[in-house]
């Protein structure tokens, strides 16, 4: 017992020590990866070796596996929560604002829904507001800091539940859980409806595999498949009826929380049921009706105002290309850290593909895994704001992790235990290295400070309703207070004429005219923050020196007045005169 406890205990001690005194200021091209000390990486190495020794043991002890997985989640997903004082990612703050809106208003006024998808699918925000009100809190700001740790812990339980429906081999399950945790790099696990809906999706798929499809898949004609006689194992289980009710309950919560996840679940259920239990196809029909009903009646006003997005459907290659960062303007360290997630994804998909080939032509329930891994790729036809490939990766990941583990267990069966141990250690370390670079190398722009929050709070507390905020980029905590819906925020880098070019003082008159054009009422503000500048620098969205030149021009202009400044940035107010 001591042997299995010692590894995680030592790893967590080393990790805790490594977090003391990490310098977070001015993280460069490599982000947090270059700032974390050697003891941090040593803790990961130690934990991996200890996990492999548990996996190699004569009898697999589940408590030891759970302990190692929990330690891995803590180290990989708890590091930023412990180092930072406010949540990372600028885009998390709009969810804090949406929670604040529901918390302070309760009932959602339909007139705000057209401009904000979050209020069209308010399930997650309603739940968060319910918990915050019950706890006596008035904001989700500090709760959101811990969301990644919480969601990844929840995913572990959900993926364990799901994998129990695919295999009874505990070593495959343990390895798949490790692969899942150490390759979930896409950053969809922060305080957001998609993270919540994804956890429910995993449990929903687990219900399907454990209770609703037979352990041995039916063969033969559709007529035979549609008859109960082909499915004695499922029809005989009274739990299956409750599982149906639970699946619909979980699906209902997903439908009101997130736009994409219900359709991912419908596609997964549809594919599995068509292959394994066609008699349940009406269930898929009910799910589709529920999802469409909410889209039409619950979020109809948002849909009506955003129908234009449907025009971009059906172009999978363009959708993927448009959201991949261009490598050409980047210096070599940024090129490497931009390429690593792509290589990691290819590795996960490659191993998963190998596992799928090994599953081919079998008739057990696990055969459904390759189908479920392939289903999300169909969604590449939708643009989804340039994020679809990340969602595809996420929704395929549990199945890919299982297939990769299955492939690994099968292919290394002929190796000696020592050689198998070395192989699995190397694979785990390669995946973990890829994860660390993919997740931590952009921290230069993902890291937010309390000063960033103060600056944004100043704007939303002091600007008159209807004001227009123009930032050099959108990478600062916008929309973080409940009344965010009364303001417009815009980024200079969204304007195509400025992308990948230089902005000079000569462009300022045009920018002033643009600000006045977009102002209905209230006032216009120009926001300069270090986090926005770091994003522009890292992604080279503007030529180096552009932001500095623009800031100097604004400071020198008599059209602007400095109204707020702190260590995070400056806010300039545009005069209400007729302009140049």
């Amino acid at each position: 017992m001591i042997r299995y406890l010692a590894g995680p205990a030592l790893a967590i001690t080393l990790w805790a020590v490594s977090l003391r005194g990490v310098n977070l200021a001015d993280m460069g091209d490599l982000g947090l990866t270059a700032r974390l000390p050697g003891t941090f990486y040593l803790s990961i190495l130690l934990l991996t070796l200890s996990f492999v020794s548990v996996l190699q043991g004569a009898r697999l002890r589940w408590w030891a596996v759970a302990l190692h997985l929990a330690a891995a989640v803590l180290i990989l997903h708890g590091t930023t929560a412990l180092l930072y004082q406010v949540p990372r990612y600028s885009w998390v703050y709009k969810h804090i604002g949406a929670t604040g809106y529901v918390l302070s208003h309760g009932f959602i006024n339909a007139k705000y829904v057209p401009t904000d998808a979050n209020l069209g699918w308010p399930g997650f925000f309603g739940l968060a507001a319910l918990i915050l009100r019950s706890a006596g809190l008035h904001s989700a700001l500090h709760v959101a800091l811990w969301a990644q740790l919480f969601f990844n812990g929840l995913y572990l339980i959900a993926v364990w539940f799901l994998l129990g429906g695919l295999t009874e081999n505990p070593r495959t399950i343990a390895l798949a859980l490790w692969f899942f945790t150490s390759t979930n790099w896409v950053g969809q696990d922060y305080y957001a409806p998609q993270a919540f809906a994804f956890a429910l999706y995993l449990f929903g798929m687990g219900l399907l595999l454990r209770y609703l499809v037979p352990s041995v898949l039916p063969r033969g004609s559709w007529r035979r498949r549609l008859s109960d006689a082909a499915l004695p194992t499922v029809a005989a289980r009274p739990q299956a009826q409750w599982a149906l009710v639970f699946a619909l309950l979980i699906f209902g919560a997903i439908v009101v929380s997130h736009q994409l996840t219900p359709y991912m679940m419908i596609a997964g259920y549809g594919a599995c049921i068509a292959v394994a239990r066609p008699k349940l196809l009406p269930l898929v029909g009910i799910m589709l009706v529920l999802a469409i009903a909410w889209t039409v009646f619950g979020a109809g006003t948002w849909m009506a105002h955003n129908m234009g997005q449907l025009a971009t459907f059906g172009h999978p290659i363009e959708n993927v290309e448009s959201s991949l960062a261009s490598l050409s303007p980047l210096p070599w360290p940024r090129r490497v850290v931009t390429l690593v997630p792509r290589v990691l994804s290819a590795l996960v998909w490659g191993l998963g593909g190998l596992g799928a080939v090994l599953q081919w032509r079998r008739t057990r329930r696990a055969t459904l895994a390759p189908i479920l891994a392939a289903v999300p790729f169909v969604f590449l036809i939708a643009p989804y704001g340039g994020e679809m490939q990340f969602r595809v990766y996420l929704f395929a990941l549990p199945w890919m992790a299982y297939l990769a583990a299955e492939a690994f267990v099968k292919l290394t069966r002929w190796l000696t235990p020592r050689l198998r141990g070395v192989t699995v250690t190397c694979l785990c370390l390669v995946l973990l290295s890829g994860y660390l670079v993919s997740d931590f190398s952009n921290e230069s722009m993902n890291y937010m400070t309390p000063s960033d929050v103060s600056l944004a709070e100043y704007l939303y507390r002091n600007a008159p309703a209807g004001s227009f905020f123009l930032g050099t980029s959108f990478n600062y905590p916008t929309r973080l207070l409940p009344d965010y819906d009364q303001y417009q925020a815009f980024s200079l880098t969204w304007l195509p004429q400025f992308r990948y070019t230089s902005i000079t003082a000569a462009d300022l008159p045009w920018i002033i005219a643009f600000m006045r054009q977009n102002l209905d009422r209230g006032r216009a503000y120009f926001v300069f923050t270090d986090t926005a500048s770091r994003q522009i620098y890292l992604q080279r969205v503007l030529r180096p020196g552009s932001v500095g030149a623009l800031e100097r021009a604004v400071e020198a202009s008599d059209q602007f007045r400095l109204v707020y400044a702190n260590s995070a940035g400056k806010v300039f107010e545009l005069s209400s005169g007729a302009g140049p």
């Binding site: 319910l130 918990i131 019950s134 706890a135 539940f161 449990f203 739990q239 409750w242 919560a253 009101v256």
Partner: protein
């Protein structure tokens, strides 16, 4: 531990969380106690009560795993009432929810009471 004892323990846990959260909401405004109790309640109790009230097999780990998504799903759907119906507030939903879960726990405790005769013919 027998299956019956496990069910009693889970029902007792649900009841204790319901009572503790109600008391803390009535007597303290500090989130230090109310936040962990609220998390425990909304993340585990409704699902635990539901899975104890119906027949879902005797695998304790499955019950515990299912309790989380069911709790989250039920809580989400209830919170939807607040966002869609102007007359309903968070306070009413939480009070109703606490009362319903406490009642469910008492029902499970009654059903698993050792004083109840077993196999009486």
């Amino acid at each position: 531990m027998s299956w019956r004892a496990s069910r009693r323990l889970l029902a007792l846990y649900a009841l204790v969380v319901c009572v503790a959260l109600s008391v803390s909401q009535a007597f303290t405004a500090s989130p230090a106690l109310r936040l962990p109790l609220s998390l425990l309640f909304f993340f585990t109790v409704p699902g635990l009560v539901l899975t104890q009230l119906i027949h879902l097999g005797r695998d304790l780990r499955t019950h515990l795993a299912l309790a989380i998504p069911l709790s989250l799903a039920i809580s989400t759907l209830l919170s939807l009432l607040v966002t869609q119906v102007p007359a309903i507030g968070f306070g009413e939903v939480t009070s109703f929810f606490l009362a319903a879960c406490a009642f469910g726990s008492v029902v499970v405790l009654g059903a698993t009471s050792s004083a109840r005769p077993r196999n009486v013919r």
